[in-house]
């Protein structure tokens, strides 16, 4: 059931190939010209992409564990995203490994171990790298198993493959809760090792799920337009994804504010430092824009029911949220690694185009390598007739 290559998908492949190549070439040049900025861009891009594929696996696992039937019809989309974990995972580990010294706990004086023995132990560079590798390997294994079982379920496998995937997904949910908390703290929060926030992992989790939902919306609508998911991905599926997107946009805002307000209220210098740099001077407009594009606009646009059923509106909001996710991560990484002024130029564009090109190319290759609908899933019929 491999979809035939239409002229539009051929053009898209060429376009993605060109953007990926040009972006990569520019990044390679930039690595010598502006290494700090290139590294920051690579960290944002690889973290962005690894959380997209991890979020997709989380979406699949949640559907399995909750016995959700509605999302089965377009499950090949998050499955193809999750199949990219070996690439995106390797990328983020490589980026972190290159600059392990930046994560080193500092200052490492002779007596610093007394007060900060835990930080001393936790932020040991080799230990950070070990954790990164272990977590990413775990995700890859679960992605291979869950996606593999779903893809190669025979027409007469009945509920057997469903049952194995429900069990695997339940274990994966525990694994991802622990591992994602660790690495989101390691890779992003530890860039400023003196600063800490107990809301960090859930803040990163909310952004991950929101961006994943937006990416699923964009990709499903693209595939429907190409004809592959025509009549399979319906406006009712779009509506439900829109509700989730609205919900997670509000959840992101809720968590963002919870983190901000706790720190604002207690007003302890070692906690406020992170926000001081981001709410003063030229970073302030980015700080405010982050809230507007991540929550205010999606919230107001997605509130009415017709908006969530309208492919045009949903496409625009989903793309806006994908941009917003980049701004959110940019605001986490750049004030520390690049400096006191926001920068946006050739290197940022290079990293973004390279990321989009690579992800798109690999995604469509993965998507084309399996049937476009999980035809042996017992819930498929329910999903095709989903009404909401």
């Amino acid at each position: 059931m491999k979809p035939s290559n239409t002229p539009s998908s051929d053009r898209l492949t060429t376009l993605l190939y060109v953007t990926a190549t040009v972006g990569a070439a520019l990044l390679a040049v930039g690595a010598f010209v502006a290494p700090d900025r290139i590294w920051s861009n690579l960290l944002v891009a690889s973290y962005y992409l690894v959380t997209l594929s991890l979020g997709a696996l989380l979406f699949i696992a949640l559907a399995y564990v909750s016995g959700a039937g509605w999302s089965v019809a377009f499950r090949r989309v998050p499955e193809a995203m999750a199949s990219l974990l070996p690439v995106t995972g390797l990328a983020v580990v490589a980026v972190v490994a290159v600059r392990l010294k930046d994560y080193a706990w500092h200052p490492r004086g002779p007596h610093s171990g007394d007060n900060f023995w835990f930080k001393d132990w936790w932020l040991e560079p080799r230990w950070i790298l070990t954790r990164a590798i272990v977590c990413v390997l775990l995700w890859i294994v679960f992605a291979k198993l869950i996606v593999g079982i779903s893809r190669y379920a025979g027409p007469h496998s009945g509920t057997r493959s469903l049952t194995s995937n429900v069990r695997l997904s339940a274990v994966f949910l525990v694994v991802v809760g622990l591992s994602f908390s660790c690495v989101s703290i390691d890779w992003l929060m530890a860039l400023e090792p003196m600063w800490f926030s107990t809301m960090w992992a859930v803040y990163q989790f909310s952004g991950m799920v929101m961006a994943t939902l937006a990416a699923i919306v964009v990709l499903c609508l693209m595939l429907r337009q190409q004809g592959v998911l025509k009549g399979i991905f319906t406006d009712d599926h779009l509506h439900d994804l829109g509700k989730l997107l609205l919900g997670f946009s509000c959840f992101w805002m809720y968590i963002w504010f919870s983190q901000y307000m706790l720190i604002w209220y207690s007003n302890i210098p070692e906690e406020t430092s992170w926000f001081i740099t981001r709410t003063h001077g030229p970073w302030l407009p980015v700080f405010v824009a982050n809230i507007i594009v991540n929550w205010a606009v999606p919230f107001l646009v997605l509130l009415p029911r017709p908006a969530k059923r309208n492919p045009g509106v949903m496409m625009k909001v989903a793309v806006l949220i994908l941009v917003a996710r980049w701004i959110d991560l940019y605001l986490v990484v750049f004030p520390k690694t690049v400096g006191s002024t926001p920068v946006f130029g050739l290197w940022e564009i290079a990293a973004i185009t390279c990321g989009i090109g690579l992800f798109g190319l690999l995604f469509f290759r993965q998507f084309d390598s399996a049937s476009s609908v999980p035809s042996s899933d017992p819930y498929l019929n329910e999903s095709l007739h989903h009404h909401c």
């Binding site: 504010f257 901000y260 307000m261 604002w264 209220y265 007003n267 029911r305 009404h387």
Partner: protein
């Protein structure tokens, strides 16, 4: 006021849906449709307008949220300024949680009470049902015979062909 009604009973939701479409095509006025559970697509088949409850919810939520922001600002910065931890009197972050809670409270109460008022429900109200079967396993469509041109026998034939298990006429002054 007494009115003549036609009570059409079905065993299957699919028959009900197609009968609702038939009734709409014939321009008979449907009083209401009673089902033991929510039947998907029924609102579309009946041609119901989208609920206006969302607007009640939105407006109540906006009143709660903005009203509480204003009230806290008035209390903390205008009427009785108190220095809390050296923070400015008009501190927005401190006002957000209460405004948020009030927004949800008013939106929820507004929706619930608007629903009760519009459907004329109140505690202890006696249920008016066209038939007891609708709480068990049957679907009932109630049609109002609102003009002389309505041919009850023709309608009965049409519905029985469409799978109705029972078609009954009644004259009632009950408001369903």
């Amino acid at each position: 006021m007494n009115e003549r009604q036609l009570l059409v009973t079905f065993d299957h939701a699919d028959d009900l849906l197609s009968a609702v479409e038939t009734a709409r095509r014939e321009r008979w006025s449907i009083v209401d449709v009673f089902t033991p559970y929510a039947v998907h697509g029924l609102d579309r088949a009946m041609g119901l307008r989208p609920s206006r409850l969302t607007w009640v919810c939105f407006i109540c939520g906006a009143i709660g949220g903005l009203g509480m922001l204003w009230f806290q600002h008035w209390v903390a910065a205008i009427a009785w300024p108190i220095n809390v931890g050296g923070k400015p009197w008009n501190s927005l972050p401190a006002d957000v949680p209460v405004a948020f809670e009030m927004m949800i409270l008013l939106a929820a109460f507004g929706s619930v009470f608007a629903l009760l008022a519009v459907s004329r429900l109140y505690p202890g109200k006696k249920a008016v049902m066209p038939s007891g079967e609708i709480t068990d396993d049957r679907f009932v469509m109630v049609i109002r015979q609102d003009n002389a041109a309505f041919d009850a026998d023709a309608a009965r034939d049409l519905f029985e062909q469409a799978g109705a298990v029972d078609v009954r006429e009644r004259v009632t002054d009950e408001e369903l």
